[in-house]
């Protein structure tokens, strides 16, 4: 797999964007660079360990995402044993949870997510327009460095499933789409977190979130 390194000078933090073969990595890379990161797009686990922060991006289906990421599963889990922030975006966030209705064929073969934020991803109700696609509002529910300055702002969503963490405390922000759902989640110590929306597609608000993330990486 090819490795791409950006040439940002005076970067505040070195961030790895995990390339597990899904989706458009260009926008998230440019967004992180604009936020002050030096970005490496790679699937090389050695790079995860050396980075100040790791981004798990992703668009597409849960099963495919989890299967594609399977060869680097242990290395991703190892990142979370240090203070290095792990940031899942969209499908990458859903993969932080334990399971998804999307991956299920039956109980036996349910696809296992990373299980870093215990919970499951469920589909929006019948009769709702799916995917939930477009700009919707963030309501911050609790403190977390990622959400500094974004309460009440709009972010860009595209998804048909949403995260339901087992613990209410894992919900950092919510959004209303005919029902309130968690749009940002985090683990107990706050170093593993994810956004259901795409910060790299959410204009100024998204760039603010990416800056907050880079700040966390620089401090870690």
């Amino acid at each position: 797999m090819s490795t791409v390194t950006s040439d940002t000078e005076n970067a505040r933090a070195a961030v790895v964007v995990v390339d597990y073969g899904l989706g458009n990595l260009r926008s998230v890379t440019r967004g992180l660079e604009r936020a002050g990161a030096d970005v490496e797009i790679t699937a090389d686990p050695d790079a995860f360990a050396a980075a100040d922060g790791v981004v798990l991006p992703g668009v597409g289906a849960f099963r495919e995402g989890v299967e594609n990421a399977d060869p680097i599963r242990d290395e991703l889990l190892a990142v979370t044993e240090t203070d290095t922030p792990l940031f899942g975006i969209c499908l990458g966030m859903q993969m932080l949870l334990t399971t998804s209705e999307e991956g299920e064929t039956d109980g036996e073969s349910a696809v296992q997510g990373l299980g870093l934020v215990p919970g499951t991803n469920v589909r929006f109700a019948e009769g709702q327009k799916v995917p939930h696609m477009g700009w919707n509002e963030l309501t911050v529910e609790r403190e977390h460095p990622l959400v500094d300055g974004v309460d009440g702002k709009y972010a860009y969503f595209v998804h048909s499933y949403y995260a339901v963490p087992d613990e209410d405390g894992a919900t950092v922000a919510t959004t209303d789409y005919e029902r309130e759902f968690p749009s940002i989640v985090a683990n107990d110590d706050g170093t593993v977190f994810g956004t259901q929306f795409h910060p790299e597609k959410s204009g100024e608000t998204g760039l603010r979130i990416l800056q907050n993330f880079v700040d966390m990486c620089a401090d870690a």
């Binding site: 440019r30 696609m133 477009g134 700009w135 048909s160």
Partner: protein, 271 residues
């Protein structure tokens, strides 16, 4: 708060005489007029509050396609809002290349009509969220359709056309919209050959009928001449997004003005 209605500027990009990419705007899919540089235009829209950006490659040649992927890359580097790219997409490899260049979604018209399986394959490989099926509809007042609506007392059906409206297909738009949705399309672009470039409003009967037929988000296109036209398509036809080209390109209305008008008339928008 609820999901906001999206305002989406669209540019048609062709090669100019020197083989450089340029933005053109037309009437009834013809009579194209040069209106600017695509990358500069995309940057300006990104800063002006556009909710998304649509980029249609109308070159329809292999040479044009290479140039366009380069432009898509340059646009994607400047634009931090969703980017949809359409034009000439016929295979899953085309979809992959376009997404790799930095598009978030691809818009497919003729390629999907000629081989509907492309929708299924694309949705399976890349996710429904990036498969936009674009319909170029035209009104027909004969007996050959399947679903009829009343337009000014006349019974009308909508036919899917291909090749930019130059060829009919005999396929009823509402049948096709349902099939596209069932195959995994994540969004539908609804263009109207009858309204394209006229600036006398979207095709409301068409947009309404498609919105009623599917649950997938619907983007109304063709015919927008003013913020009032946007208001009508959101309130009378329940479209999820309104696409416009010339009113923004020629600075007749800004995106901000359009959104302010909608906000004052209780249509939810991102301000």
């Amino acid at each position: 708060m609820v999901l906001t209605k999206r305002i989406i500027p669209c540019i048609d990009v062709d090669l100019d005489e020197d083989g450089n990419p340029a933005v053109y705007t037309g009437v009834h899919f013809e009579d194209l007029e040069y209106t600017g540089d695509p990358v500069e235009m995309a940057k300006a829209y990104n800063e002006s509050g556009a909710d998304e950006f649509v980029f249609l490659d109308i070159t329809a040649s292999a040479e044009g396609r290479e140039t366009m992927l380069d432009v898509v890359e340059r646009v994607a580097d400047e634009v931090f809002i969703p980017l949809t790219v359409g034009g000439g997409i016929r295979t899953t490899d085309d979809i992959k290349e376009t997404l790799r260049a930095g598009a978030d979604k691809v818009s497919i018209t003729t390629g999907a009509i000629e081989r509907p399986q492309l929708i299924t394959e694309g949705a399976r490989a890349f996710g429904s969220q990036c498969i936009v099926i674009s319909v170029d509809a035209r009104r027909r007042f004969d007996e050959e359709g399947e679903h009829y609506v009343d337009i000014d007392g006349e019974s009308c059906w909508f036919e899917c056309t291909k090749k930019g409206g130059r060829e009919g297909t005999g396929i009823d738009v509402l049948e096709w919209a349902s099939e596209a949705e069932a195959r995994g399309a994540g969004e539908l672009f609804v263009n109207s050959i009858d309204k394209d470039g006229t600036k006398d409003g979207y095709d409301l009967p068409l947009t309404s009928a498609v919105c009623d037929a599917v649950e997938t988000p619907v983007i109304a296109s063709s015919g927008c001449g003013s913020p009032e036209d946007m208001y009508d398509v959101f309130t009378e036809a329940d479209a999820d997004a309104g696409l416009a080209a010339s009113i923004f390109h020629f600075d007749e209305y800004s995106i901000e003005e359009t959104k302010t008008y909608l906000d004052e008339h209780d249509v939810p928008v991102r301000l």
